[in-house]
Symmetry: C2
């Protein structure tokens, strides 16, 4: 309690106070090795009394390993990443894994310097494993470290190489939505998605939609949008005026933007226009009647942490892990049969 107790108390102080050697104190504190129950108590009591907080920095340096897994996360204001983050933390907690997180902004920066920065910060901490939940850092940047520490990409596929992956099956999502829209009877559809440089995920969804739609003989207008949800929404409405009866958005954020625009333009949804999105994470999405796919965040988080734990335990096979999960369709009221 004294001003220079607490964080300044070392294990030496504890050992001295208990009248034992540092080694014995370590053992007692970690509950390993055999010690007399009596001394153990004495040491624990001393630690408690002095307010000892073990210096993990020193411990990890001495032990030559870390107990923590690094998590690289993309901007968590995106609900999808926010939830994934929360679930990953939860799962890790449950399994006794310590997670330390660094986030990387999404600002355009030259050559992804920030991502590399964040990566190095984590690797500099000599984390025991790495979970990467951001598209921002490339496989090529990860690869060099893949045989030093298990690296697992969460949320997004990893096509090849030594990086493990537990991911959303976005192509399946795209197909599910396309099938739904087709089933409703639409034959002229606009697909609104971030351009290739904007979002890999949206691209995946959008191209799956396009393929499924064209395969079924529908006429598709692809609209490559900017990063903001409201970008290029006008183009989508233009397509509607030109005859499209449905706008399929690659994200719920875009779906909201389209709904807003449709409302402002006096276009009835789903009467004159059907709209779909993807993500399914918005609280209140049910009230809005969003038609979407609920991505399986929980499953991906659980599988990712479990996989990481296996990797840390060395139980992994020679092959990198690849596990995909598809969510389920949320049949809302923003999409209906094409009307007039």
């Amino acid at each position: 309690m004294s001003a220079d107790s607490r964080l300044n108390v070392t294990i030496n102080d504890v050992a001295a106070a208990a009248g034992v050697s540092r080694a014995t104190a370590t053992r007692a504190l970690k509950g390993e090795g055999r010690i007399a129950e009596q001394t153990r108590q004495r040491i624990l009591e001393a630690a408690e009394r002095l307010g000892y907080v073990p210096n993990t920095i020193a411990a990890e340096l001495a032990a030559g390993r870390t107990g923590t897994v690094g998590l690289m996360l993309r901007d968590a204001s995106n609900p999808a990443y926010g939830r994934l983050f929360a679930r990953l933390q939860d799962e890790a907690h449950r399994r006794g894994l310590d997670l330390v997180t660094v986030t990387v902004g999404i600002g355009a920066d030259r050559q992804g310097a920030k991502q590399v920065d964040a990566l190095h910060r984590l690797l500099g901490m000599r984390v025991a494993g790495l979970i990467v939940a951001t598209g921002g850092v490339s496989t090529a940047q990860l690869e060099p470290f893949a045989d030093q520490v298990p690296i697992l990409r969460a949320g997004r596929m990893e096509a090849e190489g030594r990086i493990h992956a537990v991911y959303y099956d976005e192509s399946a999502h795209g197909r599910m939505l396309a099938a739904h829209v087709l089933g409703l009877g639409h034959r002229r559809v606009a697909v609104l998605a971030g351009g290739p440089d904007v979002s890999f995920t949206e691209q995946l969804r959008a191209s799956a939609m396009r393929d499924a739609l064209t395969d079924a003989g529908a006429e598709v207008t692809m609209i490559a949008a900017g990063a903001l949800p409201e970008d290029n929404v006008a183009d989508a409405l233009e397509a509607v005026r030109a005859g499209a009866t449905a706008v399929m958005c690659a994200s719920d954020a875009r779906q909201l933007a389209v709904l807003r625009a449709a409302r402002d333009a006096g276009i009835a949804v789903p009467g004159a226009l059907s709209v779909t999105g993807c993500d399914g994470l918005l609280p209140g999405g049910d009230l809005l009647g969003l038609t979407t796919v609920r991505i399986p965040v929980e499953q991906v988080a659980a599988a990712a942490v479990e996989a990481m734990q296996r990797l840390l335990a060395g139980e992994a096979g020679a092959e990198p892990m690849r596990q995909g999960f598809a969510g389920e369709l949320v049949n809302g009221s923003t999409a209906g049969p094409p009307g007039r």
Copy 2:
């Protein structure tokens, strides 16, 4: 590039490769002290070539201090915390502060053992400062460390003691909403909020609402709800049947639950019932016409990080910092004049 390069490369290797001593290598790598530009280049080049990633664990132990600020966060699936998290990270990034985050679940656990756990993990890392963005850890638990390391609570007030705070002025939010509802003409109002054990924030909002309402002569029914948004919504509707014309919810999540229930019960909003919430962070809240207060996440995050930076620089006064921010009313379509 060889299998045991990269993470196994120490500064010794770099020094050796460059034909200098460890000390010189350190200087070159940190860009401090005077060294011949030529040797500097040689060292940097060697580091690059060997793929050297500095071991921050060792560096921090040796230096006796950390460059990182710890962030204790509550479950980020809550949009309010998710956004705060994202903004804090952003701000920290911008200001060159390194943040390491640990989250604490919200599960009921005996005596908040998990919170203490998380706290110790951060303190064990000997972080340079601590930002606490969860109500889960109490002032009493924080206090003992307050003179070892600057501790700043973000999002929630800190009444006394040595803990700094940058917070949402929830009482103001409650008053703003109450004034709005009163202004619309309501005189019989139900207030739905998590009970005292559920959410401190909601309590703050709710009691401010109650006070403002009763001060204006309105009749108020307080409903102490459970943790889930849908908890006790039935009680709120019961109050409506008994004559209340408005239900003020302490959070938007509860507002959504009430809207859902009202819809299912065939109660017109805002015709027969006005509903308000608080948070204002839901994407699509505008489409739903939510009446709410948008909490000033950005301001709080920015102020918190700035404050922390000042504290780290030792520029703080003797008094703990206390900075509150109020958001603004979002005048939606879920609240209107009392009708019949």
